[in-house]
């Protein structure tokens, strides 16, 4: 038993480095909701791939965890009221593949 745990502990240190590099390369997006036109139908929050769009008491959508947005634009093209706009957060970085 003791031998097994020691071998497992030795293999551990590698994984933390991998996600860090991924997070640096990930493209970031900004989702803006135009609440004047929103009718709170709930399509955006129901179909969100990452399930980050939440609704308040009046049914209006909001996002807390904006960095998790992958920019699939499903909510933008399925919004019947034209109330969602998605933009690249750093459009100037696009040519250099996310590197500054």
């Amino acid at each position: 038993m003791v031998k097994n745990t020691t071998t497992k502990q030795k293999k551990v240190p590698k994984p933390p480095t991998a996600p860090k590099t991924k997070a640096k390369e990930a493209k970031l997006y900004t989702v803006t909701f135009f609440h004047n036109w929103c009718k709170s139908c709930g399509i955006c929050s129901a179909f969100c791939l990452k399930e980050i769009i939440k609704t308040d008491a009046a049914g209006l959508p909001y996002i807390d965890d904006m960095d998790s947005c992958v920019g699939c634009r499903f909510c933008e093209i399925h919004c019947p009221d034209f109330a969602i706009a998605i933009k690249d957060r750093h459009p100037e970085r696009r040519s250099s593949n996310g590197k500054q």
Binding site: F34, N36, W37, K39, S40, C41, G42, I43, A46, F47, R73, E76, I77, H78, C79, P80, D81, F82, I84, A85, I86, K87
Partner: protein, 294 residues
């Protein structure tokens, strides 16, 4: 390439006058309008060379919101008005937006004859299987057995299949899509606009307020999820048996043929008639001169 909704909003919509629109929360008409505007934007057409003609109904409200040359016409007669526009100014791109009742019930005759003549038009038919604006009466596309204001115990008639009707009537391009497949819908609309000849685009949409509530199909989200589950592509549908295809929605291009276009043939006839008239006039002139000399 998808464009940000802000470009669509600022450029192609009458955003300072007519918004927010009158459609119910979650209505598929908004999704169809967005796909149509993105298709026009990606084709690079200027707003002055596009005409949007629409009939009466929920889908007919679309001409109020878009910033093209627009025309809001009488019930069922949208295709006749667009025929006139196309004959008078053949260089314009004419888009016709109709509902299912507008196209196949009140304007059914105009629809099949426009397909037979093969005019160079694009018809986008939003099929929500009910008359939504007037209170949920049954329409020609209401499925057998479903409930509506005028069929409280279940509908006793069978439904039209708009796309197959158009293909049989002789349309050059027929495609079908749903509001769930919004990017597929955009691609199909783009193909329909580019195609020379009469192109019909049937869009299966949701009316959760009038149709969905009476048949316990749920709200907008549940109905749109239902389209996702029920739809099969054309390639897949050819391998399936008719029993398996019952209740399914076949999406994709259903017909794509080449045919002479009547609006162009009409221009050729005009040119030939002019030549003929000139010939007769010349002959008359010659004869007249001779008679005068005699």
């Amino acid at each position: 390439m998808l464009e940000s909704a802000e470009i669509i909003r600022q450029e192609y919509l009458r955003h300072d006058k007519k918004f927010p629109h009158v459609w119910c929360p979650g209505c598929g008409n908004g999704i169809v309008m967005g796909a149509l505007l993105r298709a026009v934007h990606s084709l690079g057409l200027s707003k002055n060379e596009v005409v949007l003609v629409s009939g009466i109904g929920c889908a007919g409200r679309m001409s109020t919101y878009v910033d093209f040359n627009t025309m809001h016409t009488t019930h069922g007669r949208a295709l006749t008005f667009s025929t006139g526009i196309k004959l008078a100014k053949p260089e314009l791109t004419v888009l016709t937006v109709m509902g299912d009742g507008d196209a196949t019930a009140i304007g059914g005759n105009h629809f099949i004859h426009a397909a037979r003549r093969n005019l160079n038009l694009t018809a986008i038919i939003v099929n929500n299987s009910t008359y939504g604006m007037t209170g949920g009466q049954y329409s020609p596309t209401t499925p057998f057995g479903s409930k509506s204001t005028t069929s409280v115990y279940g509908h006793v008639e069978h439904a039209f299949s708009i796309a197959e009707l158009a293909a049989t009537a002789g349309a050059s391009f027929v495609a079908r899509s749903t509001v769930y497949h919004a990017s597929h819908l955009e691609k199909m609309i783009k193909q329909a606009i580019v195609k020379r000849g009469f192109s019909v685009m049937e869009v299966i949409s949701n009316c959760h307020v009038q149709h969905g509530r009476r048949n316990k199909l749920g709200g907008a989200v549940e109905m749109i999820t239902g389209f996702k589950e029920r739809s099969v592509t054309v390639d897949k549908a050819t391998k399936m048996s008719p029993e398996e295809l019952e209740g399914k929605i076949t999406i994709g291009v259903l017909a794509d043929i080449e045919k002479p276009i009547s609006t162009e043939e009409y221009q050729r006839v005009i040119a030939e008639a002019k030549q003929h008239a000139e010939k007769i006039a010349k002959e008359k002139e010659k004869n007249g001169v001779k008679r005068y000399e005699e």
